[in-house]
Structure formats: C-alpha cells, structure tokens
Subunit: 206 residues, 2 copies
DNA sequence: CGCTAATCTAGAACAAGTTTCAGACTTGAT
DNA sequence: ATCAAGTCTGAAACTTGTTCTAGATTAGCG
C-alpha cells in the first residue's frame, strides 16, 4: 500500500530513492517529449512507459492517470518558468503592466511548444476531483508568479480576487487559442484587458 | 456521404425529417439525463444509444464524438437559459450589476444539476479543433446573453473585450467549482470582481 | 407501385486508458 | 548474509470511445 505518489517539490513527497527519482524524471521527460510532438493525444501511456523504460504498471504507480502525469509535467515546466522569470523580472512601471508583461512572456514560451502547451492545459482543465491537489498546486504556483510580478508583500483580499480572475482569464484564453478559436493578438488583448483590474484595486486603499 | 450533422437552431441544418428530428431529440434527452445522473463519465455512448433507441453507428452519425454530443447538449440548455432570462430580465441598475445578476442566476441553475454542468463544461473545455464551430456557437450564445444583460445596442471594442474576459472567468470559475477547488461563494466573488471591468469601459467614452 | 440512394441496425472489431497478477528484483533491518 | 516487505516487470484482461461491415428499412421519385 505504500506508493511513491510523489509531489514534485515541496510538501509530502515520501522520500524517493535515487533510482526512483531517476525513473520519475525519465517518465516526465518522455511525457514532455511526446506531448511536444503531438499534444494531448500523442501522450500514450504505453509509449510513455516504453520510452522511459518502465513497466506500464510502474508508470501508473508513479502517476495514477494520464491527467495526473500531464499535470505533473505542467508543475515541472512552471517551476522552470518561475525561476526564469525571477532571473529577469518584468521591467514595466505599474503592477498591471508587469503582470501583463510576465504573462505575455509565458505565452511566448508556450507558443514555442504549442503541442506541449495543448497537452498540459487540456489536462489541467479536464482534471476531475481526484487530481485537485495537484491542480491546486499548479494554481498556487501561478499565483505566486503573478504576485511576484506585482511586487506586493501584502496583497489585499480585493487584489487576491483580481489575481484569481486573471488566472481564470489566462487559462481560458489559452484554451481558446489552442483550439484555434482565438488569435495570438486576441489573447494579448484579453490579458491586457483583465490586468486593468489590478489598477482598480491597487492605489490608495488599505 | 450526406450526413445529417445538424446544428441545433440557426444556420446550415440540412433539413431533418420528422423521424430524424425525433431521433435527435431522443439522443439529446438521453445524454442530458445520463449527464445529470453522473456527469461526464456517466455519459457512455453505448448507453446513450440504447436509451435513445438508436444504433451506436447512428448516434455517431448524428454526433461525431462524445464531446460533440455534450456540446450540443449545452447549446440546447443555453437556449433554454436565454429564453428564460429574456422572460425575466435582470433588475439591477448598472450594466455591471445586471451582468453579475444574470450570471449568478445561471450559476444557481447549474447548481441544481451539478453533474449535468460538469459534463457540459468539461466537454466544452476539452473540445479540440474538430469541435470549434460548435464551441464557437456556444460562445456566441453566451456573449449574446451577456450583451442582453448590459442592454447595449452598440458595444465598443473595449466592451467586447470586457465581455470576452467575463466569459473566460465564467468558464474557468465554473471549472474550479466543479472540481471542488472553489466554493460557491468564491465563484460569486470572482464573477462580481470581473464584472467591474464593465464599469471601466462603460460611461463617457465613445 | 417499384426503384435507387440514403439511412438505420446489430454486432464485431479496434484503440488507448486502466487494472490485475504472478513472478523477479531491491531494499532495509537484523 | 539472509529474510521480509515493498517494488518492478511483462503480459493479459477489461473498459469505453470510435470505426467498420453487411444486411434491413426508409424516403423520394418516376
């Protein structure tokens, strides 16, 4: 009954051995690679297992479903993104602009691997309750990136609401782009539009 | 090669016979019923076929995939919603409040059949490019409902952007609620927050 | 009415996610 | 070094979405 079931970074990761950690990495790598090639559908569990040299049963022990796997893949990529952004923070003047700048930068990164983006985002929004903890973790990570961009130490509830709405817009706009129903320009406009909410909550208000 | 492939209401519906129309209705009814019982997973194509007294192949002729079927189900429900709202329009004073009121009313309707909501919303966000026309139709319908609530004849581009962001928030907030990651209260706050965008674009500006 | 094309049916077959199982291998503790 | 518990492997089985096929039925037309 004692499964690895590892979360990527922080909390309750039940201490993997070195070989297990290596397996986990191989799996995530194979997953990302297949996803980058053909999106959600191209990530086939049998193939992931084969490419990462792991038995199918083992794959399922590490990631209890395809969606779990892809959400974990997303956690992984987000981590990269966060460290990247930290290294070169957004340069604009207002918080709203800095958030928009950061999201647009992330968006451009996703455009470089649209299939990978497809796989991750579809998994994220398709996830049911059994994946909630993992999806929540992704959400927290995203929130952290946005708050970083705002450069606030102590966000008000109103500001947190605005951030939540920005995240909603971000995810949903990505989906419309990925399914070909919105252009890149359209996504840009939507992001800029929603970021105006920040101005609404920012200035003189405790 | 000539398939029914019917859209629900307006445009290019290739004229179904009476029996075909009846089949289509039976299918949508069975779909909604199963969805209401157990959500996305409970809508199983074989069962839909059986319940609507139609062969599996026929079901697939009418709706080329499970997602198509559920999106069509959503179109159907949205139509209801729209006529309902028209009969008793929102009563608040400002456009922003009227939109929030309308969306909250829709939200309460969804709460009455959370499983059905789950099936429809998951299908909507999981839909790939092959379902784009149908998803787009749903989006247009939603936009129409929101614009109705705003009581505008001639929305500016900025207002249309705001509406788009509201839709994004609406969908994404529903997902977080359906997957148990946000409370009803939380969704309410998010809707109210995003509706403030309307005030930003409304008053004195041509 | 009688024909022809399109549609519908029943059921098999296929694809990919998921589960299961018996046996081999690792690990950690004694 | 040895044993027990936990893990991993390979392969088969199961589930559900989707496709295919051959034969009935239906619809529209002359």
């Amino acid at each position: 009954m004692t499964a690895p079931d590892a979360r990527s970074s922080a909390q309750g990761a039940p201490a993997l051995t070195e070989r297990q950690e290596a397996r986990r990495r191989r799996i995530l790598h194979a997953s990302a690679q297949l996803a980058a090639r053909g999106g959600f559908d191209a990530v086939q569990m049998r193939e992931v297992a084969e490419d990462s040299q792991v038995a199918l049963g083992t794959l399922y022990r590490y990631f209890p479903s395809k969606v779990h796997l892809l959400v974990a893949t997303m956690q992984d990529q987000l981590q990269h993104m966060h460290t990247t952004v930290r290294k070169r923070p957004p340069s604009s003047d207002s918080p709203a602009e800095r958030v928009a700048e950061t999201l647009m930068r992330a968006f451009r990164a996703l455009q470089r691997e649209p299939h990978l983006a497809d796989a991750m985002v579809r998994a994220l929004t398709f996830a049911d309750r059994s994946v909630s903890p993992e999806v929540d973790q992704v959400s927290r990570q995203t929130t952290a990136i946005i708050l970083d961009a705002m450069e606030l130490d102590d966000p008000t509830p109103a500001q947190l609401s605005a951030v939540r709405v920005i995240e909603h817009t971000w995810h949903s706009a990505l989906i419309t782009w990925l399914s070909g129903r919105a252009s890149i320009a359209q996504v840009k406009i939507d992001i800029e539009t929603v970021c105006k909410l920040i101005d609404l909550t920012d200035p003189g208000r405790q």
